[in-house]
């Protein structure tokens, strides 16, 4: 193939960066070989572009003008106060913390872990000691995302590898903080694994934040979620990556029999975000509820792409995503639900709604149902609308000033998604964080 000559500046820079840092990346020979193979895959594929169906509204090849240098030797000079400032309301949540700064585990900020049945290991350590940590990569659900995942494999430096033993219920949430810091933007590549054994229960918060003063960074993060039979996981991702930052996230979830996976994603104040979720039901009677709220302003671009694979009978999936788009912001929602042959009695519902605050904002939505079984209940819907003038008049007729009425309507619109978070304190925290950013969105509008 004569592809090399057509590569963009960013694609070439990524390949060159790999040559430069490969020797410093964690892992033994097997990992080094996997990395090398992955960068080869990336070199062949290049960045995803609009001619690839799943990326038609998020053309990374044209959006990523340059590739930042990988953060391999970041030094951490932070105070706990700076961490808490970045966490905003999440700082007040009583949680076990695992902190990563610029892609490296920061043990000084990580809570001492002596909880029976809970094992947390930094990925860098796992890569040094285990033969291979990349065993999720063969998953067939990843179609369309090969290049992004290949980059993740090639450059992954750290992450949280978590295992909760059979029947253990975590007493408080686990907060995984991935902070970007410093005046020089860098490429951060993370890989996490959250494995809950049979009947285990946990709440995990995955927060990707730019600390005050941080330059725009680039993140490629992959979280591999594995739920055993009857396990129950509440997984909340909070992406506040920074105005000009780019953030590529892939979640791979495999769901065991009768497990419950409740996931939520809040995305705001981030330049370019792609949230991919591949969820596969592997055992009967499991439930997936994934929802999210995205707030875009200026020229921000936020893409949520879900593939939910009902591979076995009698599972239930629910998806509700709500976005508020101001200025020239661009929101994308792609939701694919697959029901495999003979996977009867499946029930999938999907809804994506955007509130458009500006005539220049854009929302693209593509629901996709691929159903190969006949006894199923699946439905989807999508809307993009402006604020309802009738509602606004009703509220004003009660004496509520127009700005306050608008703010309340927008808040309540997003609130319907945030209400899906069951943990009350967590719901309140995210609600406040969203509200603060909504004020920024509405203030800018005429």
């Amino acid at each position: 193939m004569t592809v090399a000559s057509t590569r963009t500046k960013a694609e070439q820079a990524l390949s060159r960066s790999f040559e430069a840092v490969a020797a410093k990346l964690p892992g033994g020979d097997a990992i080094a070989a996997a990395r090398k193979a992955a960068i080869g895959t990336f070199a062949a594929l290049g960045l995803p572009h609009r001619r690839i169906e799943q990326w038609k509204w998020t053309d990374l090849r044209s959006a990523l003008k340059e590739a930042l240098p990988p953060a391999v030797n970041a030094r951490v000079k932070l105070s706990p106060g700076e961490i808490d400032a970045g966490l905003e309301e999440l700082a007040a949540i009583d949680a076990h913390r695992v902190v990563f700064v610029d892609g490296r585990h920061a043990p000084q900020f990580t809570s001492r872990n002596d909880i029976g049945g809970l094992k947390i290991t930094p990925l860098a350590e796992v890569l040094r000691t285990e033969a291979c940590a990349g065993d999720a990569l063969a998953d067939e659900g990843l179609i369309g995302n090969e290049a992004v995942v290949a980059l993740n494999t090639a450059f992954m430096t750290d992450g949280a590898v978590i295992r909760l033993a059979k029947g253990v219920r975590l007493d408080k949430p686990l907060l995984l903080l991935f902070a970007q810091t410093g005046p020089q933007g860098c490429l951060v590549t993370l890989r996490n694994r959250i494995a809950l054994d049979e009947g285990a229960q946990a709440t995990v918060i995955e927060a990707h934040l730019a600390l005050p003063g941080a330059a725009a960074g680039q993140t490629n993060t992959l979280t591999d979620v594995r739920l055993g039979p009857g396990a129950r996981l509440a997984h909340v991702k909070c992406t506040l990556a920074g105005e000009r930052a780019s953030h590529l996230s892939t979640w791979l979830a495999t769901l065991g029999q009768a497990c419950v996976y409740r996931a939520f994603q809040l995305t705001a104040g981030s330049g370019l975000v792609r949230n991919d979720v591949f969820a596969k039901f592997k055992g009967e009677g499991a439930k997936l509820d994934i929802s999210g709220a995205f707030l875009g302003r200026a020229a921000e671009h936020i893409d949520t792409t879900l593939v939910v694979d009902h591979a076995v009978p009698a599972c239930e999936s629910r998806e509700l995503f709500k976005g508020v788009l101001a200025d020239r912001a661009h929101g994308v929602f792609q939701g694919k639900v697959i029901v495999r042959p003979n996977a009867q009695k499946n029930d999938g519902k999907q809804m994506a709604q955007a509130l458009m605050l500006s005539p220049d904002a854009e929302f693209d939505s593509k629901p996709e149902l691929e159903i190969h079984a006949d006894d199923v209940a699946c439905g989807h819907g999508a809307t993009a609308a402006e604020i309802d003038e009738g509602l606004l008049f009703y509220m004003r007729a009660r004496g509520i000033p127009v700005a306050e009425a608008r703010a309340l309507l927008i808040e309540s619109f997003i609130g319907e998604a945030i209400d899906k978070i069951e943990d009350e304190r967590l719901r309140a925290a995210l609600s406040q964080m969203a509200k603060r950013r909504l004020t920024g969105l509405t203030a800018a509008q005429p």
């Binding site: 509602l391 004003r396 007729a397 004496g399 619109f413």
Partner: protein, 258 residues
């Protein structure tokens, strides 16, 4: 006092007048009823008083306590004491009824130069009033009007009216879609608000509501005009004779166009 003088109104994007010269005075302490056939312009009058967009006032004026009501934004009118009980109350998903009530009350109080109520004061007040309107506590926690029955929505309008304590109450077809028990509850709620400091305009198609909310005056409206004004007995006459004598113009027009 509410003074409406020669009010002529059309839809913003059409030429035809919907209100073609309404003149009306409702002094404080009085309840006036406006009755009329469908399409007579009753609801338009209610919306114009509340300040809904989409209408154009071609001529005339509306004064409330001597101030030009038409020059005010809808929320300013509410601050000045105007309240419209909607024929079709809006559903607001995601906003709990209590939150909505508190936001509205505090906005109005703040802008009237009164102190905002504390949460316990507010809750106590709303709960007391809710009991009188047979509104269950559980409903106050639900998003405003979402999934409420027709009767619940109308009772909620009266609860809002009671909590906001306006000085000019405009009730647009508050009895429509209500069974007789609900009409009694709603009417009792309205009657509790009758006061020497408050003017009320009750818009209704049927006489039934006026058995419970007994008006000081009844105006018959048709073709965008007040065609007849009388005492409460006028409503009873209409109950017998119907709107036939007021319908001639509209009927003639519809026959001509149909």
């Amino acid at each position: 006092m509410l003074e409406i003088r020669n009010l002529r109104v059309k839809l913003a994007e059409e030429d035809k007048l919907i209100l073609s010269g309404i003149s009306l005075e409702v002094p404080k302490g009085q309840v006036h009823a406006i009755m009329g056939p469908n399409g007579s312009g009753k609801s338009t009058l209610a919306y114009v008083l509340a300040g809904r967009e989409g209408y154009e006032v071609v001529d005339g004026e509306v004064l409330w306590n001597g101030e030009d009501l038409l020059a005010m934004e809808p929320d300013e009118r509410a601050v000045k004491g105007v309240f419209l009980a909607f024929q079709y109350p809006m559903e607001i998903p995601g906003v709990a009824t209590m939150t909505f009530l508190r936001t509205a009350l505090n906005a109005v109080r703040r802008r009237r130069g009164q102190t905002e109520l504390t949460t316990p004061e507010f809750m106590k007040r709303v709960r007391e009033e809710a009991v009188g309107l047979a509104i269950a506590d559980e409903i106050l926690k639900r998003p405003l009007n979402v999934g409420f029955s027709g009767g619940e929505k109308k009772r909620m309008e009266i609860l809002q009216m009671t909590v906001l304590a306006p000085s000019l109450c405009v009730l647009d077809e508050t009895d429509s879609g209500l069974d007789i028990d609900a009409v009694r509850i709603v009417s009792a709620g309205v009657n509790r608000l009758r006061s020497p400091d408050r003017a009320m305009l009750v818009i209704t198609h049927y006489q039934r509501l006026l058995n419970y909310i007994v008006p000081d005056k009844v105006h018959v409206m048709a073709d965008g005009k007040i065609r007849k004004t009388g005492g409460k007995e006028l409503a009873l006459e209409l109950e017998k004779s119907g709107y036939a004598e007021f319908r001639s113009e509209a009927l003639a027009r519809s026959l001509a166009s149909g």
